[in-house]
Symmetry: C2
Subunit: 371 residues, 2 copies
């Protein structure tokens, strides 16, 4: 059997893309907000149902730009979760701000609002919450806390492309939301990212942040970086976007198959079902409690790997395990932060349309033998 990986990139039809390449060759417009870029940005604005959706070259650069959008004071504190990809904390740090890590909620694994409350100091300027694995944050509680303390609320939405809460787009919550279109994401532009906000008036400022602060041939009005996505990637995205629903449908079916044999197993928890929330179908995380189940997350990972099936210990390590943040505490309402337990229990199973019934049977076999 071919090795099976946790993700497999969604690709446009090859001939369609080759035709679009020919079109780029004709126009000779390779970047700087060309026609494909403009079209993709418009389509994503519609898709995400937000007044402002601005493309970036990757999610990390988008996150750095989003954090810059609000003129947070230098060295002020940004409260975030350690259960996230490195980029979340690094973007804060690179921007001259201080990440402050707080615990996550059991089951949901999103940032714990009570822990956020506890971590707020006079230096706190923002909350950077992460909709992790597709599970959405406690958006109302977080907004209330932000409002009460005059904090900015920014979401890392890398895992929730297309999610809605009671019909409202995930990209419209808080002050800004940052998406990733990396190859591992359901919707991808090879590398890519996006900032969405609920205010049309943010468009200009985000544009400047993306393009060196250039307002016109004669004016540079702010400090910006280069966050531009090129035309080939934008065209790739344009062709990929219509393929998202079918890929998502396949993953929903796969989710049901996985849940079919996992839900009954003592010591295994599948992803929380959140009422009113559509699942973006980005990841399929499970929590393995060794005390009840008998085997550890790492045991299952190794047994799957022995069959050529690569699950992912995601997120392992967590941010507070990284060398630069090792001395940073995890603020929690518990004596022992829950995140320090769950980080050794979470496993993301292969989750894409390339996972066949035979793969599912192999995976089921590993879990059943273990139980």
């Amino acid at each position: 059997m071919e090795p099976l990986f946790v993700a497999q990139p969604l690709l446009p039809d090859l001939a369609d893309f080759q035709n679009i390449v020919a079109e780029v060759w004709r126009t000779k417009t390779l970047t700087n907000g060309g026609p494909f870029h403009q079209r993709l940005e418009s389509e994503l604005e519609r898709y995400l149902d937000v007044p402002t959706a601005m493309l970036f070259n990757n999610g990390t650069v988008a996150l750095m730009a989003a954090l810059k959008l609000f003129d947070l004071p230098a060295e002020s504190e940004v409260i975030t979760t350690p259960l996230t990809f490195a980029a979340t904390a690094h973007a804060v740090h690179w921007n001259g701000l201080k990440p402050v890590f707080v615990d996550v909620l059991p089951d949901a694994l999103t940032i714990d609002p009570a822990a956020v409350q506890k971590a707020i100091t006079s230096k706190t300027s923002a909350i950077l919450a992460v909709h992790v694995y597709g599970t959405v944050c406690e958006v109302d509680q977080l907004q209330a806390i932000a409002d009460q303390h005059g904090l900015r609320l920014i979401y890392d939405s890398a895992h929730v492309f297309g999610t809605t809460i009671n019909g409202r787009s995930i990209g419209s919550y808080g002050d800004a939301s940052v998406f990733s279109f990396h190859a591992t994401k359901l919707f991808n532009t090879l590398e890519g990212g996006l900032i969405s906000t609920n205010k049309a008036s943010d468009k200009a400022d985000i544009y400047y942040l993306r393009n060196f602060g250039i307002k016109s041939e004669d004016e540079v009005i702010s400090v910006g970086l280069n966050g531009k996505m090129n035309e080939l990637q934008a065209a790739f995205g344009l062709l990929n976007l219509p393929r998202v629903p079918e890929e998502r449908r396949c993953r929903s079916e796969l989710r049901q198959k996985y849940e079919g044999f996992l839900t009954g197993l003592p010591g295994i928890k599948v992803q929380l079902k959140q009422p009113g929330v559509t699942n973006a179908e980005q990841y399929f995380p499970i929590i393995i409690d060794q005390a009840t189940y008998g085997l550890s997350r790492d045991d299952i990972y190794d047994r799957l790997k022995a069959k050529g099936i690569y699950a992912r210990k995601y997120f392992h390590p967590i941010c507070t395990d990284f060398v630069p943040y090792r001395d940073y505490p995890v603020h929690s309402i518990r004596n022992t932060p829950y995140v320090n337990t769950v980080k050794s229990q979470v496993l993301c199973l292969p989750f894409h349309s390339g996972v066949t019934d035979r793969h599912v049977a192999e995976i089921k076999d590993v879990f059943n033998k273990a139980a």
Copy 2:
């Protein structure tokens, strides 16, 4: 006549690129240092004749990473030139450092070593010099100053891809050199950049800066961002690199044609010839002295534009004209910094293989009528 622009991107053969796209579709490897990325990086290491050449998604991100490489103290001062693209100053500022602007040398238009000396304070941590328009800096003097004061010396080499000084690669000078492969550059990867250094031991650290500080599946050892170039861009670059010599030859011929009618004109200066330096043929800048020539840079720009020929007032505005740096002085050995005079005199003429003899005749006509 079709409008003629200052730059026209060099493109690979369409069919060759379409074939390579098919190869990417077969491997499904879209980014994260895939095979095309590895090959392009190796080829550029050879091309630039340096022990370390690390690809980035664009020159600005590469510059931000290069500045981070040396752990410059927060808010320390980085001496640079205002006669550069916005990215140079913005990268310094975004990284939490303070750009300090100093004057340029007459004729060369590169940073004035005497002005650098004058601007050094106890807070200075680095010199960020720019090889502007292809004219190289006073590399020996700058290195001596850096050594004397214990400063890092970083070069913005966006305009000097392929330049050598007495046979030595421009990418090997100073502590690091940053290239841009933006569409407007002779060698382009749509968007792209590179850091070169003269030390093989820098490779690992630059790799971490480019890829979130990830050392292994279990270790994140430093604060990094996402500077990864994707596979389509790397493949584009691989096919473009062999086309560079022919494009450069065309531009060298064009340079001779331009110089043929410009060299004699009173009040017009063409680019400095530097003994032992190969010209990268990135730009064709001229300096127009209105007092002698009769017409201003802007007059010539307008007259060319009226014919559909778009020259570029490059760099206009200069960094100290930008809103964020308006209050920053330009340190100079003169009463009036030379850069404040020359910024209204510099014009870059269209410079690429798409400029025909007919275009040259039209441009010549504008200059001759003016004289």
